[in-house]
């Protein structure tokens, strides 16, 4: 008889999403283990303790811990959701934008520069207002909407003097007037399973910053764009954020490889936690 797969769930914090995922494993009677990333260790020449897992679901809040864990696990041939390659691309905005540009996915115009002087030139060639983002980061933190040259000079000086080195990788993007909302689409493999508007009076529309969700119809255009973007970064379980540009239409703003779904699950009415579990089981069964 074929044995039931054993799944590891790597996490940092037990958020509501992890509680729902754990409950879904238990409802299905699946053998799984909770792996706190503050306690795990990898002996790089001895994968044996990790080979008990048929797949690992990576849910760390810490991007770097998650990324390095995925690299090690994948190097040992242990399937993960998502893969290290996907996390590497999606966790770094320069990588994401480059890959999407290569695939011909429409995005806000973006420029990258490495000194305050060249960044100022990049900003002025895009035209105000411009959005500056850290290349690694989430939840709308440390984003700046720069409305004029005075603000640009101040932000660039602060980033180069006060920030760690990666804040001097200047990622400058066209500001899109998005009428108080963006769209979060959830992609599972080859399917866009849900979409929701994220609405806010603030220019930032992250739910972590107080935006509220509302169900959004998945149009054929949206579906095609999301799948193209998801395939470009390597596929898996992804949250694709879209902007509605008044002239250019739908643009891909970013792709999250480790999505939170506390807003989308109740709005969509879908059991997304259960779908996570079914997806990781499918990956695990391909191996076992």
């Amino acid at each position: 008889m074929k044995k039931s797969p054993r799944i590891g769930v790597l996490y940092s914090r037990v958020r509501v999403e992890e509680k729902w995922i754990f409950a879904a494993f238990e409802q299905r009677g699946i053998d799984y283990e909770k792996l706190d990333n503050r306690k795990i260790k990898f002996d790089l020449e001895n994968p044996t303790p990790w080979l008990q897992y048929d797949a690992i679901l990576e849910r760390s809040i810490n991007y770097n811990r998650g990324l390095y864990a995925l690299r090690i696990l994948n190097s040992w041939g242990i399937p993960t959701v998502n893969t290290a390659s996907v996390a590497e691309i999606c966790g770094d905005k320069v990588s994401t934008t480059s890959i999407l540009a290569q695939a011909g996915v429409p995005q806000p115009r973006t420029m990258v520069a490495f000194t305050p002087e060249s960044a100022l030139e990049a900003i002025e060639s895009i035209g105000y207002p411009v959005v500056m983002k850290p290349v690694v980061g989430s939840w709308g933190r440390l984003l700046a909407k720069i409305n004029d040259r005075d603000a640009a000079e101040a932000i660039l000086e602060h980033k180069s003097i006060l920030g760690s080195y990666h804040h001097s990788i200047f990622y400058c993007q066209e500001y899109v007037e998005k009428q108080g909302r963006d769209i979060r689409a959830t992609v599972f493999g080859d399917e866009v399973i849900s979409a929701m508007f994220r609405k806010s009076e603030h220019w930032l529309t992250n739910t972590a910053r107080g935006a509220t969700g509302e169900k959004c119809e998945i149009t054929p255009e949206m579906e095609k764009l999301c799948l193209k973007a998801a395939h470009a970064v390597g596929g898996g379980l992804l949250a694709v954020d879209l902007l509605e540009h008044p002239k250019k239409g739908l643009l891909v703003n970013e792709i999250n490889h480790n999505m939170e779904f506390h807003t989308v699950q109740p709005i969509s009415g879908l059991d997304i936690a259960g779908m996570f579990v079914d997806y990781i089981l499918k990956i695990a069964r391909q191996r076992s």
Binding site: S12, R13, I61, N62, P134, G137, S164, N256
Partner: protein, 56 residues
């Protein structure tokens, strides 16, 4: 309902029956994030401070 005392402000907080190890709760009095570090007996500590690479 189990009770825990906030290590920051000493307020007593009730815990739900379905609480999980490492779950984060918010002290109802001072608002600090607390992490469940033991279920039996229920014990909390101050939750880790948000770091720069945290996100989704």
């Amino acid at each position: 309902m189990s009770q825990i005392s906030c290590p920051e402000c000493a307020a007593e907080n009730g815990l739900n029956a379905d609480i999980e190890m490492n779950e984060i709760i918010v002290c109802q009095d001072c608002g600090v994030d607390l992490e469940i570090i033991s279920l039996d007996p229920p014990t909390v500590d101050l939750a880790p401070i948000e770091e720069e690479d945290w996100g989704e």
